[in-house]
């Protein structure tokens, strides 16, 4: 990949609903990804790979071959680090290493360049992970995801550790959800369908925009005897969304394995809740080379019949291409 070359891809997670319902096979999803303009794909292993967490080598190689035959790069094996998978205790550090080595082994068979892991792995374990990633020749990227931001303690710690390790084999998967400023219509409508009034919704949106503290907002709701849904809506909204601050994005760019360009709803070719224009400007200015992986998450609330995930991904990739070329 040339310096400053940005490639566009898609996470097959974007197609969760049609996959879950058996309406489309994995092969269908790969073809749709290609049609949408993707050059590479990310696959959430725990979601789509039979036999997970120990898929067969045969399956992985055949998936790799299928991607390549369609002209798609099997870019990222997206792992979950389920540190709470046992009911009696957390996974130990040793178990987390074994999980990650297993993910690397699978990623290798799949021909992937990156394993996406999660912050449950803990920062200091990256010292043990880095040599494994290097041996496999595959990067391990820890995804930063809402409700965390780069300012969250654990992320300040991750960044210190990445500075210290100074290896191209460990880094950050940057989910743009952490820069989301507003909730999207579909999400608001779910709460509305649970009886949260338009007046309450308007109040919450304006409080969010004006940076009013959550405690004050909850006090107001309390006084209004608001429903449990209204209170949950406020809590989720203030945990997940906030006015845009570019944060340390440019500073950490050198650690970013790739982006999850998160989105919930494309309207007329635009995404309105995340400051894409500003962020892609930083990406261009810093000379980042690598993948922007479109991650559509509107499938939770929009019906496929009304809002097609395939159209959404196509429009999103087109928007990214337009902004990158601007």
């Amino acid at each position: 990949m040339r310096a400053g070359e940005v490639k566009l891809g898609v996470s097959l997670f974007s197609y969760s609903s049609v996959f879950y319902l058996g309406e489309k096979s994995l092969t269908d999803l790969l073809k749709k990804s290609k049609e949408a303009g993707a050059e590479g794909i990310e696959i959430v292993a725990s979601q789509m790979i039979p036999g997970y967490p120990y898929p067969s080598r045969e399956w992985l190689r055949s998936f790799r071959d299928e991607c390549e035959q369609l002209g798609l790069e099997p870019f990222c094996y997206s792992a979950h680090l389920d540190s709470g998978l046992r009911s009696d205790r957390w996974l130990t550090e040793e178990e987390k290493v074994l999980c990650t080595v297993n993910d690397l082994r699978c990623a290798k068979d799949m021909g992937a360049s990156v394993v996406r892991t999660q912050q449950t792995i803990s920062p200091k374990l990256m010292y043990e992970i880095a040599p494994w990633a290097e041996r496999y020749g595959i990067k391990v990227g820890v995804e930063i995801h809402p409700p965390h931001t780069l300012s969250t303690d654990v992320w300040q710690e991750f960044i210190r550790v990445f500075e210290d390790i100074d290896s191209p084999y460990v880094g950050i998967v940057m989910d743009l959800g952490i820069y989301q400023e507003y909730p999207y219509d579909g999400w608001i409508n779910v709460y509305a369908s649970h009886g949260v009034s338009q007046a309450t919704i308007a109040f919450l949106l304006s409080a969010l925009k004006e940076g009013q503290p959550l405690a004050e907002v909850l006090a107001v709701l309390e006084k209004q005897n608001a429903s449990e849904y209204a209170r949950e809506m406020a809590q989720e909204m203030f945990a997940l969304y906030r006015p845009y601050r570019p944060d340390q994005l440019a500073d950490v760019m050198k650690y970013i394995t790739h982006f999850h360009t998160k989105f919930y709803h494309m309207k007329n070719g635009e995404e309105e809740t995340i400051p894409y224009r500003q962020i892609l400007q930083i990406i261009k200015e810093t000379g980042f080379s690598g993948y922007l992986i479109s991650e559509y998450e509107g499938h939770y609330v929009y019906d496929e019949q009304t809002v097609s995930c395939f159209d959404q991904v196509r429009e999103h990739i087109a928007m990214e291409r337009r902004l990158l070329n601007a």
Partner: protein, 140 residues
């Protein structure tokens, strides 16, 4: 993402369709069965199922009379929390088998509740546990 999203997208699939019916042994009807899906975008370890309970026409069913048939095996509901090496692939349909003398005839309502722990979603030290509920009328 908020829990309401997951509820909206997946709870309705917890009780699935196809394969519901009675369990017949020789001339006896010894119980009934119905299909279930994991109510989330991804599969999960059975040990992450903190509760999986059912009611028949409003009456809670005895967990000791219920088995989950999955992965070519049979699991007692009470054992699920210990099954950390058993993964439920998201496309696989589980079958719930309930011992119930005489089985069921005609239309009956099943209510299901699953509490599912998200083992990776421990952003501030505690795993998210999401409760899914679903009701469905089956023709037996």
């Amino acid at each position: 993402m908020g829990l309401v999203n997951n509820q909206r997208a997946y709870d309705k699939h917890l009780l699935w369709q196809g394969g519901e019916g009675n369990i017949v042994v020789g001339d006896s009807v010894v119980g009934f069965r119905f299909p279930v899906r994991i109510p989330n975008f991804r599969g999960n370890y059975l040990s992450c199922i903190e509760e999986f309970s059912f009611a028949l026409d409003g009456q809670a069913l005895d967990p000791d009379k219920i088995e989950l048939v999955l992965n070519g095996k049979r699991f007692r509901i009470g054992d699920l929390p210990q099954l950390f090496a058993e993964y439920w692939y998201v496309l696989d349909v589980g079958i719930i088998e309930v011992l119930h003398d005489g089985g069921l005839q005609g239309k009956h309502r099943i209510d299901a509740t699953m509490k599912l722990r998200y083992g990776y979603s421990a952003y501030f030290g505690v795993c998210k546990v999401v409760t899914s509920k679903c009701s469905k009328e089956y023709e037996f």
